[in-house]
């Protein structure tokens, strides 16, 4: 392998060949690409970096340390799983974009300087929108446009921030930044938009559920997690992040309870999980940052399983609303099983992944003495079991029988879900091995009697609450509806304003043009009168009359001169 070749380049450039390949060769090639790229990552020496000079700037296009390595590994696993999951597609462009997008996200976590980061950041934004547009409906087209605008705004803020920061500090190295300077604040907001900070989150909830079956799976893995990585690298220990993370962990779960579209429930649940990671970054101790990296790793897997199982349901039934589904365990037993494994993993049941990853963040919060934050996270932990752990599998596969009978998911989808499920359980069963991958050396044992029992109490009493609410009929039914969120601001008043601004501009423009037209007509008429064929000024005058007029002027002049 070439010493300084960036694995991201293998994916991005390699993906360009996919559309021209056919049949088995294409399948083989798509599976091979992430494997090759992973081998390259593995063979690169520890602390490898590649740099070159351009316009007096040193660009570090490749920089590997322990933090970027964890993210690079899970990004490869996610890419491979996504390729397997999308093998049934007869849409080579979508498969090509999948890999380009994954490669760009990988480029972000391996970037050593801010310019390289920006380039991959923007490429990831632009390539990802095609995963939404590939659904080829008007609804997804509009959602994709809204998504793209937000992504581009994030990119522009990042660029502005980088320019200010580079001018002030004279460095473009991607390292720990300080929120005191204006450039860094812009960079912070740019990361925050992609990370779905409160009030900046609606692009995620709006767009991901409109993506294609496979697109949502790929999207769920990369954009937000590369933002988590960027925050963890640039702003560890920023206390503001603890409070932002708490809002993210606690608030979206209320929406998740009343949302009908099950993939949208998963996006709310995703913000909730990102909240845990952001709190971890805000605390910033070695244990907390380990927790953030570990939880991002686990989240990509279990959120992947949940999105994959819902994708399989959407593919087979054409429906995604909880109110229309139910009883599918009869038709899709394997998908049901994998979905339950994903649900158990996100809910942090002992022996499943989040039990050993989320607890790192909880423990770090407690050790630093953040009592209130810890209680909110505990509330969010109970809530996540409720809306993702129970609601998703229950309303899709059990609940009332919707009488939908369909085929089981295609084999490639089952294999993809199976890989993710096995890995999720492996993390939960062998945490010691998994912890070795984490950036810092930390002693923590998740399997203490206290932790196992208290966690089971928390979860099973949450289940008890769900059961009682459901049996007494208090539980809010799944309804065909839309729930207003921040995107209302730009989809209703914003759209109204834009529309009326446009019509105002259009009317003024019309008025201006008709006025100019009228004015020029009048001017033309005047010119015509004086200079036209009959115009007094365009007549051919006899020389004699000119002489007469000269004499007429000169005569009085001479007379006055002599007087």
């Amino acid at each position: 392998m070439i010493d300084s070749l960036n694995p991201a380049v293998i994916l991005v450039i390699g993906a360009l060949l996919i559309p021209i390949l056919q049949g088995k060769l294409r399948t083989f090639y798509m599976l091979l690409l992430p494997v090759l790229s992973f081998l390259q990552l593995w063979m690169l020496p520890a602390g490898a970096s590649a740099a070159f000079e351009m316009f007096n700037l040193t660009l570090t296009t490749l920089h590997i340390d322990k933090l970027s390595f964890v993210f690079a590994v899970i990004f490869h696993i996610a890419t491979f799983i996504a390729v397997v999951y999308s093998l049934h597609l007869r849409d080579s462009w979508q498969q090509c974009v999948n890999l380009i997008y994954a490669g760009c996200a990988l480029g972000v976590v391996l970037a050593g300087d801010l310019i390289t980061l920006f380039i991959y950041w923007e490429m990831a934004a632009i390539s990802s929108v095609f995963l939404i547009w590939a659904r080829r409906t008007e609804r997804s087209y509009n959602a994709g446009l809204r998504y793209l605008i937000v992504q581009i705004v994030s990119g522009l803020l990042l660029l502005a921030g980088i320019i200010l920061y580079a001018n002030a500090s004279g460095s473009i190295e991607f390292t720990k930044l300080d929120l005191a300077s204006p450039g860094c604040v812009l960079i912070f907001i740019a990361f925050g938009i992609k990370c779905a900070f409160p009030l900046f989150h609606s692009w995620l909830v709006d767009a991901y559920p409109e993506a294609t079956v496979t697109g949502a799976v790929v999207l769920s893995a990369f954009t937000t997690k590369m933002a988590i990585y960027a925050l963890a690298r640039a702003f560890p220990g920023t206390e503001l992040l603890i409070w932002i993370g708490l809002v993210m962990a606690a608030f979206p779960i209320f929406y998740a309870v009343i949302e009908n579209d099950l993939r949208r429930v998963l996006t709310y649940s995703m913000i909730n999980q990102l909240g845990f990671m952001v709190v971890g970054i805000g605390i910033g101790t070695e244990l907390a940052l380990n927790g953030t990296a570990a939880h991002a790793f686990a989240d990509i897997l279990f959120k992947g399983i949940l999105f994959m199982s819902m994708g399989a349901v959407l593919l087979r039934t054409g429906k995604m609303n909880g109110s229309d589904l139910g009883g599918l365990y009869k038709s899709m037993p394997y998908t049901t099983t994998f979905c339950i494994i994903g649900a158990a993993s996100i809910s942090a049941f002992p022996l499943f992944s989040a039990f050993v990853t989320k607890s790192l963040i909880m423990e770090a919060t407690a050790r630093e003495g953040y009592k209130f934050a810890w209680l909110i996270l505990l509330f969010a932990s109970a809530g996540v079991f409720h809306h993702a752990g129970i609601k998703i599998p229950f309303f899709a596969f059990f609940a009332h029988d919707s009488n939908i009978r369909c085929k089981e998911a295609p084999m490639n989808m089952l294999i993809a879900m199976g890989i993710a499920a096995i890995l999720s359980m492996a993390i939960g069963i062998f945490p010691e091995t998994f912890y070795k991958l984490l950036p810092y050396q930390v002693e923590y044992n998740p399997f203490t009697v206290t932790h196992v029992i208290t966690q089971l109490q928390l979860l099973l009493f949450s289940a008890l609450a769900f059961t009682l609410l459901l049996r007494t009929g208090i539980y809010p039914p799944e309804l065909h509806s839309v729930n207003l969120d921040v995107d209302w601001l730009y989809r209703k008043p914003g759209a109204y304003l834009a529309k009326h601004t446009m019509s105002f501009v259009a009317t003024s423009e019309k008025w201006l043009f008709t006025s100019i037209k009228k004015l020029s007509f009048i001017m033309g008429a005047r010119l015509h009168r004086h200079h036209g064929p009959q115009g007094i000024l365009s007549k051919t005058w006899p020389t004699g009359s000119m002489v007469m007029w000269v004499a007429f002027l000169l005569g009085p002049y001479l007379i006055f001169y002599y007087l």
């Binding site: 009343i258 009978r405 009697v449 206290t450 928390l458 099973l460 609450a465 839309v482």
Partner: protein
Amino acid sequence: MNPQKDKKYWLDNPGNINKIVYGLYSICTILILLEFAYHKHINFLFENWFGFFSWFGFIACLALVLLAKQMRKIVKRDEDYYGD
């Protein structure tokens, strides 16, 4: 006739669903009783309150659902509200 449709599943019998629910009740009871059986290692004092994690989980979910239900009154709109 679709043979899949005729097949009776274990969960189709309401009695079996009751069995699961009673199973859950008994597990919850056991978990509460376990409070007497081990020594808790804690970070905050309130974790030592009897069955803290049990009733916290229960009340958290109750509050979550009831508040979310009220929230529907404010945020719920028709499915074609945005008209796309």
